[in-house]
Structure formats: structure tokens, C-alpha cells
């Protein structure tokens, strides 16, 4: 699959530029945290090589999931099944995932690892996406999976600043999931705890 840049509607563009500006602030704070994490790891030295390798594996898993989410929202946006304002929402969420992916790739590099590359093709269930609700349900399942993935990452990231950055992304994924559920007419926050 070729991941082309989305071409949102003029309304979406205005909204996105505002949100992107806000996103830049958020990413900047995260980037500082990641950089701080790297400095701390440099102080720890080679004794923690295995834990650093684990952190790289964890971040790369998250990066792979983010790349898949970017491709999924691209598929949704190009499907012709999403109408305003849902289309603008998909564009906005995709931009968040791009920012997450950028931050994660940089963090992997700072730890001395190699960021995973996006798959050439994602075998999404295209034949099952026949209406807007199908696309939203599919996106919601990926967002829920992402929340769980970050929940599984935060406690085992050895660097606390990286864990903080991952938790920050987790919060964003959870908001995506809730908004998508709301759009589907489901209770947006069905439980007090995520798993």
C-alpha cells in the first residue's frame, strides 16, 4: 500500500492546522522527555545493555502499531465511506499517529536501535468495510489494541522518561477510542479501567 498524504476538506484543513500547532507543542515536550531519557541511559552505561535492548523492542512494537494505524486511517479516508465531520476526525487522528511514530522512531535511534519500517502492504479486511460504521469499528479495534499495547509497555520500559512518554501516547489513543465509540453510538467510556 502506498501511503499518500491525505487531502482533507477545507474545513478539516483549518481545524487540522490548529490541532497540528497544538500537537507540535505536545511533541516538543515529549521529545525533551525522550532526550532526557537518553542522557540518563548514557549515564547508566553498558551494564544495562539488555534492558536497553528491551526498551528498543518495546518502542519498536509500538512504532509498528502506529505505522499500521497511519495506514488504516489512510485506507479509511480513501474509502469514500467517511463523511464530514468523521473524515476530518480520521485525518486528525492519523496526524496524531504520525507524531507518535516520529517520536518513537527518534527514541529508538537515540537508544542505538534501528526503527522498524512500515510494512509495504497491510492486509486489512477491505472486503468487510462497506459502510462508515465498519470503518469506525475497525479503527476503534486498532485504537483499543493500541491502548492495551501501551499498557503493556509502560510498566516494563526501564527508562522512566520513556515510560512517561508512552503513557502520554496511551492517553491520546484512549481518547481516540472513546471518540470513535461515541461516533458509533456506543458508550464512549464503558469501564473504569482499561486492560
Amino acid at each position: 500500500m502506498t501511503i499518500a498524504r491525505l487531502s482533507p476538506t477545507p474545513d478539516g484543513e483549518i481545524r487540522r492546522s490548529f490541532l497540528t500547532g497544538f500537537g507540535k507543542f505536545t511533541l516538543s515536550a515529549t521529545a525533551i522527555a525522550l532526550l532526557a531519557g537518553n542522557e540518563r541511559l548514557a549515564l547508566i552505561g553498558s551494564a544495562s545493555a539488555q534492558t536497553t535492548n528491551n526498551d528498543v523492542a518495546i518502542l519498536n512494537s509500538a512504532l509498528g502499531a502506529e505505522q499500521q494505524a497511519i495506514a488504516a486511517y489512510q485506507l479509511g479516508a480513501e474509502s469514500g465511506l467517511l463523511q464530514k465531520p468523521v473524515l476530518a476526525l480520521a485525518v486528525q487522528f492519523q496526524s496524531h499517529h504520525k507524531q507518535h511514530a516520529d517520536a518513537l522512531a527518534k527514541a529508538v535511534q537515540k537508544l542505538g536501535g534501528k526503527p522498524v519500517a512500515p510494512l509495504k502492504d497491510y492486509a486489512f479486511p477491505k472486503d468487510k468495510l462497506k459502510k462508515e460504521a465498519d470503518v469506525l469499528s475497525f479503527a476503534a479495534s486498532l485504537e483499543k489494541g493500541a491502548v492495551s499495547a501501551y499498557l503493556g509497555a509502560v510498566p516494563i520500559l526501564t527508562d522512566r522518561e520513556l515510560a512517561k512518554a508512552a503513557a502520554s501516547i496511551l492517553g491520546d489513543e484512549a481518547m481516540h477510542w472513546a471518540v470513535l465509540r461515541q461516533a458509533l453510538g456506543q458508550p464512549p467510556v464503558p469501564d473504569a479501567f482499561m486492560s
Binding site: Q50, N53, N54, A57, I58, L59, N60, S61, A62, G64, A65, Q67, Q68, A69, L119, Y122, A123, P125, S141, L142, K144, G145, A146, S148, A149, L151, G152, A153, P155, I156, S195
Partner: protein, 132 residues
């Protein structure tokens, strides 16, 4: 007195003996397992390779051998065949059981949840409507 000491030692030995994992295994509920499987969906799918390998055909497959998926060297060398016991061990703490695995995830720590998840996987990965 001697017999009391011997009894206590025996009790300590018996209590301290490791119980085989299979004997500890909880009975899994596939319906609950399906809910738990939702946690895996950012990286896995039943029917196709994604960020992680597809799960259809998982049981009886040797780890790291599915064609069309690029495994870590660590997983290629792991050498086990996936079954209830090997999955239970791996899912509890993937990074500890297979250091170097791509699966950067803390694991499913609750034994009952693992049993439920495995029960679901056992059904779903053999479902001809999903796996063809």
C-alpha cells in the same frame, strides 16, 4: 522429636516442590478470551500477518517458522512448538522467555486470563470461517 523434625522437613519439601505448569493450568473460557484478544489487535490478527504474525494455525506450529513473516533471530532460535503450555509460558512474560523477541509487551500476568486467551485462540485459530 526426631519424627517431628522429619515430618516438618517432609512437609517443607513437599510444599516447596515446584508444581508442573500443566497441573496448575486453569480452565479457560473462550468467550472471555475473545475479549482479552482485543488487547492484541494493535499488532496481531487471526487471518493475516500484521505487525505480528497471524494466529491462524498457531497450535502445532514451530515458533518462528511461519512463511511470509519476518521474525527476530531470537524467535527463530526459540525452537518450541506452540501449544497450551508453551503459549502460557511465553504470554506470561514474552521478553523474559524469548529475550530479543519483537513482541515488546509486558505479558498477560493473570493465569486465568492467559487460560481464557489460550482457550479462545485454540478455537479461533482453527475456525475455517476465519482461517482459510
Amino acid at each position: 522429636m526426631r519424627s517431628l523434625v522429619a515430618t516438618c522437613l517432609l512437609a517443607i519439601l513437599v510444599v516447596g516442590l515446584p508444581i508442573p505448569r500443566a497441573a496448575q493450568a486453569a480452565t479457560g473460557d473462550p468467550a472471555r478470551g475473545e475479549d482479552i484478544y482485543h488487547r492484541c489487535l494493535a499488532c496481531h490478527a487471526l487471518s493475516h500477518n500484521s505487525v505480528g504474525p497471524r494466529h491462524c494455525g498457531l497450535f502445532g506450529r514451530q515458533a518462528g517458522t511461519l512463511k511470509g513473516y519476518s521474525y527476530s533471530t531470537a524467535m527463530k532460535k526459540y525452537g518450541v512448538t506452540w501449544n497450551e503450555e508453551t503459549l502460557d509460558r511465553f504470554l506470561e512474560n514474552p521478553l523474559k522467555v524469548v529475550p530479543g523477541t519483537k513482541m515488546g509487551y509486558a505479558g498477560v500476568k493473570d493465569a486465568q486470563e492467559r487460560a481464557d486467551l489460550i482457550a479462545y485462540l485454540k478455537q479461533a485459530t482453527r475456525d475455517p470461517k476465519i482461517c482459510n
